[in-house]
């Protein structure tokens, strides 16, 4: 039983990072109905920027998080302006956006490689002191607490933004019904740009957290696996739904850890994606997703 709970703890802390990353995917999908495959590259850039801040510049963790948020957020704005907005102007379909996001991802990875090289990097060992706590027979590391804490803070902030602020309601209005949002005076392109700022910021911090969780794993290519897992999370939780993305991410994290523990690590992917296929076929809107009823 203790093993199960222990793995649950591990799964939750891993899953929380997936959740943060998945939220970015789902927000963009909710607003534009496209899958942004440059998001994993943004995660990698975030991790790398954090590396520079933490290692090269010796900045403290809270400041590093805040700066990464800002830096990758701005990157999101550039991404929207360069890759997605021109396609919106030409009324290209969702396939075109998918391809262009792939192109943007390649460019980002290549530029990152130029700046940081291709070899995996690690954050300075002292960033999070190696400390463990014993709670009811379970071991929780300070690292896990910090990660979970950061994610919770960001998620709560996001929720407040979405429900209490003018811009948050505007984003949700556009996701719900773009034509009606226009009638209420919401400027579509500006709201979309802000959405990209938001999602990329969160993706970047997810990268930082991944870098802390897996020592020595920071490289321009680290985003690849997360792309798939992020997609899996939003399929599970329902595309376009933020809470769903979070639950999906947690489920993937916990599921991953459990499958490795109880089945075998090699079949992990097969089982996971097989389940995903079933979810899509049986309930395409995911556990919490909505019916597609609006006209864009």
């Amino acid at each position: 039983m203790t093993v199960f709970l222990q793995q649950l703890v591990n799964g939750i802390s891993l899953g929380s990072v997936y959740a943060l990353f998945a939220v970015g995917f789902t927000l963009v999908f909710g607003v534009l109905e496209i899958i942004n495959l440059a998001h994993p590259a943004v995660l990698a850039v975030g991790a790398l920027v954090a590396y520079t801040l933490l290692s090269t510049l010796g900045v403290g963790l809270p400041l590093a998080v805040a700066s990464t948020l800002l830096a990758t957020g701005l990157l999101g704005l550039v991404l929207d302006a360069a890759a997605f907005r021109p396609l919106r102007a030409r009324r290209a379909g969702p396939l075109a956006s998918l391809i262009t996001s792939i192109g943007a991802a390649l460019i980002l990875v290549s530029l990152a490689q130029r700046v940081w090289g291709a070899e995996p990097l690690g954050y300075p060992p002292g960033t999070i002191p190696l400390r463990f706590f014993s709670v009811g027979g379970l071991t929780i590391s300070l690292l896990q607490i910090v990660i979970l804490g950061t994610v919770i803070v960001l998620v709560v902030a996001l929720r407040l933004l979405m429900t209490r602020t003018r811009v948050g309601i505007a984003i949700r209005a556009v996701a719900e019904n773009p034509a009606t949002a226009s009638l209420l005076g919401v400027p579509f392109n500006r709201v979309v740009a802000f959405t990209f700022f938001l999602t990329s910021a969160l993706g970047g911090v997810a990268g930082l957290l991944v870098g802390m969780l897996f020592q020595g794993s920071v490289s321009p290519f680290m985003g690849d696996t997360y792309g798939l897992k992020g997609l899996a999370a939003i399929i599970l939780g329902g595309m376009g739904d933020i809470t769903g993305a979070m639950l999906g991410g947690l489920a993937i994290g916990v599921g991953e850890v459990m499958i490795v523990q109880y089945l075998s690590s090699s079949y992990r992917d097969a089982v996971a994606f097989g389940l995903l296929f079933l979810v899509l076929v049986i309930r395409p809107t995911g556990l919490l997703g909505r019916q597609r009823s609006r006209e864009a």
Binding site: I169, R172, L183, V186
Partner: protein, 497 residues
């Protein structure tokens, strides 16, 4: 030929079809009319296999086809056109018609690969027949034009040609004359008669254009709120008081609007022309809304009422003419700018943001404002609309139709608009809700907000407003004080021909 027996179809709580029985005789042209939302297209969808009925049966030539899928129904001999035109837009016109012949041919992939006799013969015969059908509907010479590039009236005719290619015995036409001008409608009427006389087709058609219905149909059936309320010859139906009431609304004791002296002009529309890719819908419309007033724009379905509102609020660009809010020209401006200047548009069908809460919907309505009084207005409106205060934290999608309409109006008011535009607020609402909504509308006017009210229900609109405009085929046919228009036969003509 076709027998519809006690057909019902529910969508959640909404009874789109309620125990409808209808028979279409061999070789006749039967018209199906009724106000917006009466269930006419739903009936088509059930008959042709796009929807399953909740109860009842459909029989075609004696055979029961009730739950058959659409492709099987077509194979049996029932063809249709669509209200929203569903052509294969990228394909050339002639190819659209050839596709129609699919169900009557049988060449397989292997036939195509081996270029067998079957393939070659069917291909050439298919093309020959397609060209003949195009000529029949008057589209010869337009064969290679992509369907999406054709003029709107031509697209409607192409849909008919395509349906004919399936060699049907029964043809269902859904608003074939929508968007056509007088000359095109006349040509369509002749075509329909030819289809029956020369090709031996039986025809069931939905139409709002009364001239066409009265001119071409042998019999007419009328639906309202999902029920059949009348059936008979065109003349009988046109005079039937139940039918007139269904379209124009019933006279009732209602509060009259607060009389005001006409103030300054808040909205001026001059010689406006606007429309969609398929062509102009508005052909030079001029109207005014004055401070303190309720002005109403009435007219039959398809006359252009919603198009006008959409052009004013910026969703559509005008092609000619001017729109002025006060002294500011807003024609062609972006929607968010127009909203910022004080125009609130409550769209057709309410269009609330279903997954946001009631309160969030209201806040969204205030998006264009940056002042500090938003909270205070939120409180005031919640007072005024108690149902909204009660359901403040519920997702707006859980509200009933009438409550949603209240929410949509309140949301519009949150913008503290200089002008409130309402698009068909009575649509789809049961009568008692309609009363409540219109009381609210009067209350808004009493508070000093001028209103442009677009309504299909002429009676209701004219009883509520000070001034009325009657829109017919994209032009203002008549205008005057609402009282005067109430008794004016011109209004009845605009609706019922």
């Amino acid at each position: 030929m076709l027998a519809v027996e006690r057909l019902s179809r529910n969508f959640g709580g909404l009874r789109a079809l309620d125990d409808v029985s209808l028979a279409v005789r061999d070789g006749e042209i039967l018209g199906l009319i009724g106000p917006n939302g009466a269930g006419k297209t739903t009936l088509f969808n059930v008959v042709t296999g796009f929807l399953r009925p909740t109860a009842g049966r459909v029989r075609f030539r004696g055979e029961e086809i009730t739950r058959w899928p659409a492709d099987r129904v077509t194979a049996r001999g029932v063809a249709r056109t669509f209200q929203n035109i569903r052509l294969f837009r990228e394909m050339p016109a002639v190819e659209n018609v050839v596709v129609g012949g699919h169900v009557r041919t049988r060449a397989t992939l292997l036939d195509a690969l081996a270029h067998t006799r079957t393939h070659r013969d069917e291909e050439s015969a298919g093309r020959v027949r397609a060209r003949a059908l195009l000529a029949l509907v008057g589209l010869d010479g337009r064969e290679t034009t992509p369907a999406g590039a054709l003029a709107y009236g031509d697209q409607r005719r192409l849909e008919i040609a395509r349906a004919l290619a399936t060699r049907p015995a029964l043809l269902l036409l859904d608003e074939p004359a929508a968007g056509m001008n007088a000359a095109e409608t006349e040509a369509l009427m002749q075509l329909i008669r030819r289809l029956r006389d020369e090709l031996g087709l039986t025809i069931l058609l939905i139409e709002h254009d009364m001239k066409l219905v009265m001119g071409v149909c042998d019999r007419v059936a009328v639906l309202n709120f999902g029920r059949k309320i009348a059936e008979g010859s065109p003349e009988e139906v046109r005079r039937d008081p139940t039918v007139i009431e269904a379209y124009l609304g019933r006279r009732a004791e209602r509060r009259a609007p607060v009389a005001v002296r006409a103030g300054e002009v808040v909205l001026a529309v001059e010689h406006l022309r606007a429309g969609y890719a398929r062509g102009d819908v508005l052909h030079g419309v001029s109207l005014e809304v004055r401070a303190g007033q309720i002005a109403t724009l009435i007219g039959a379905n398809g006359a252009g009422k919603s198009t006008l509102l959409r052009t004013i609020s910026g969703l559509l660009r005008p092609r000619a003419g001017q729109i002025r809010l006060g002294h500011v020209a807003i024609g062609g401006a972006a929607p968010d700018r127009i909203v910022g200047l004080g125009v609130a548009h409550v769209p057709e069908g309410r269009q609330i943001l279903a997954r946001l809460t009631v309160e969030e919907n209201l806040r969204a309505g205030a998006y264009a404002r940056r002042d500090r009084d938003i909270e205070r207005d939120l409180a005031t409106l919640s007072e005024r609309f108690p149902v909204l205060r009660e359901r403040r934290a519920q997702p707006a999608g859980t509200l009933s139709g009438g409550e949603q309409q209240m929410l949509a109006i309140a949301r519009g008011l949150m913008a503290r608009p200089r002008l409130l535009m309402l698009d068909e607020p009575s649509l789809g609402l049961a009568p008692q809700f309609v009363d409540r909504v219109f009381e609210v509308v009067l209350g808004v006017q009493a508070d000093g907000v001028p209103i442009l009210l677009v309504e299909q229900n002429a009676q209701l609109a004219l009883e509520t407003a000070h001034w009325g405009y009657v829109l017919e085929s994209g032009r203002i046919a008549t205008q005057g004080s609402a009282d005067r228009l109430l008794g004016d036969a011109a209004v009845q003509r605009a609706y019922l021909g």
